[in-house]
Amino acid sequence: MPDLISYLQFVLAPQMLNGLALGVSVILVALGLTIIFGLLDVINMSHGEFYAVGAFGALALSALGFNYWVLIALVPILMIPIGVLTERFLIRRVYDGGDRHVSTLLLTFGLGMIAEDLLKIVFGPNTHRPENPLPGATEVLGVFIPTYRLFLIAIGAVVIVAVALVVYRTRLGAMVRAAAFDRNMAASLGVRVGWVYSGAFAFGVALAGLAGVLLAPIYSVFPTMGHDFILMAFTVVIVGGMGSIWGAVIAGVLLTQIQAISSLVISPVWADPIVFGVMVLVLMFRPQGIFGRIGHA
């Protein structure tokens, strides 16, 4: 019996808590992805690179002497114009020509290639890491957990709730959801659909940048970092239901817990196939994901 308790306390519980920190990270990356898909019907293949731009932005600005806590607010704000410009001058041009899913997916794929190479030109090929703003560990239930991870879980929860409130509870969110549901009707009701689209895209990009700032101290910063979370984030978005914020949260927690707990028992290499298997199963029985789409539920 004491064996079981100590197993729960020293092996399983920390494993699940670490899984939760990873889950929050994945959700932070997936949030922007799911919003852009749910509202604009655009699969943003360059999302990972926007995440990298956010992380490098934080790195460059902190080298200029900016405080890390300021950057958490500053970097997402700086990402907004990047998002608006991308939507206005690139995404919008292929919006109505042919299959929107395919053309925007391809366009953002090309954009991602260019962005990755540009990061390499500016910052060089090597790895960087900003100083951890909260070094040290905190004792939770007799187990030491790095303070920054606890902070990440907390701020992640705050960000998720804030985003959900904005999308589901504000007038702005209602306008956006209306535009996503029926573009023409929303336009005839006086919603400026063009700006709503730019705004929604920029919001998604800003969230990617925020994820970059928050995750940089743990996962380090390098030009190809955009590929890191993207398969996992896509999986979370699919399983959760494209465009559903709560779906992404539940899927993110669920999938990372499956990964964390299964890696106690089997070789961690199989964690990816297992997570992918869950995605396939969900698609087989509920192709729209656990939750439906924004504006359609």
């Binding site: 899913h101 997916l105 896509f234």
Partner: protein, 340 residues
């Protein structure tokens, strides 16, 4: 009978024949000047053209975007490599690769065809990633180092025997095989069953009312594409003497997708033109700057923004007009159907 689809397909053939003629002129010139490298690079371009062709069957004709077609290309390459290491027989390798990708294509199709649109794109992406990781970690398959030591094989072709190490001979053989793959695809898409596949892209909801199963049509297209990618992949180890997990990575699928878009989706011949153009461009740009990602990315984005139909798609209307005029001049012209 020359309806629109027919004219369109015949226009594709014109572009394919131009490619064959260019290839033959190039081959004559290259072998005359004693070149080895460019002949073998062109062979690689044609092999990648097979992969691009398979993507175009899905994207251009059924409207399904596959982001993981390298999966079947890689399976074909690995099976071919494993066979050749044991038994250096061209036909055995091609046969084994063909059967393996047929089975893999059916298995993958059962999964991927549960879903549509972007879900299809993402699930094909995921399947390829997972298999690539498994190959990367499998000691039996050479893991991250891949498999080297695939012998230079002798290929018996009835009257003559050809060596895979002979740049000109293997180039011509590859050209014939790609032409066969192209012809089979074009033929199948021209049959009534193939037209259901095309109709799926035009209006998916209406097809079931015509009494056809959309699932079977989609599945058939998917398996056809898998087999074409796999057979093209089977040629790769014969040319390069090795295989590595990178052949299954997204970079391979992504490159092939760029080839299709630059060449022109929905034109079949455009995919192969795209492969030739991009392979040559990459070779030149790669020697010129290490920032080739930016250059290729810019070319790709410009193609999407300013030339969404691709090179062949842009030139095609001129050819079609000529074909229409010619068929109108024939003694007993069928009334042109404008149902589409």
């Amino acid at each position: 009978m020359h309806d629109r689809l027919d004219i369109s397909m015949r226009a594709n053939h014109v572009f394919f024949w131009i490619l064959v003629i260019v290839a033959l002129v190039f081959a004559a010139f290259a072998s005359f000047s004693g070149d080895v490298f460019y002949l073998r690079l062109a062979t690689e371009a044609l092999i990648l053209g097979g992969l691009a062709l398979s993507i175009d069957i899905l994207l251009g004709f059924t409207g399904l975007l596959s982001l993981g077609q390298a999966l079947y290309f890689g399976i074909g390459a690995y099976v071919s490599a494993l066979v050749l290491r044991e038994e250096p027989s061209f036909w055995l390798a091609m046969g084994a690769a063909g059967v393996s990708v047929l089975l893999a294509g059916i298995a993958g199709g059962l999964i991927a065809n549960r879903v549509r649109g972007v879900y299809f794109a993402l699930i094909t992406f995921g399947m390829a990633q997972v298999v690539a990781k498994v190959v990367y970690n499998s000691r039996e398959l050479g893991a991250s180092d891949g498999l080297i030591g695939i012998p230079v094989i002798e290929i018996p072709l009835g009257l003559i025997t050809l060596s895979a190490g002979d740049p000109l001979g293997f180039f011509l053989l590859t050209l014939v095989i790609i032409a066969l793959l192209y012809s089979v695809s074009a033929y199948l898409l021209g049959t009534p069953f193939g037209r259901i596949i095309i109709a799926l892209k035009a209006n998916e909801k209406r097809v079931p009312y015509l009494g056809y199963s959309t699932w079977a049509a989609r599945m058939a297209a998917y398996v056809l594409a898998a087999v074409i990618a796999g057979l093209a992949g089977a040629l790769y180890p014969m040319l390069r003497g090795f295989v590595s997990p990178e052949l299954l990575f997204f970079a391979t699928s992504g490159d092939a997708l760029i080839m299709v878009i630059v060449g022109g989706a929905g034109t079949l011949a455009g995919a192969i033109w795209g492969a030739v153009i991009l392979t040559m461009l990459k070779s030149v740009i790669g020697s010129w700057t290490e920032h080739h990602l930016i250059v290729i990315g810019l070319i790709f984005m410009s193609a999407i923004l300013f030339m969404p139909k691709g090179i062949v798609g842009m030139l095609k209307p001129f050819v079609e007009r000529n074909l229409l005029r010619n068929s109108a001049r024939q003694p007993k012209p069928e009334p042109e159907r404008t149902a589409l």
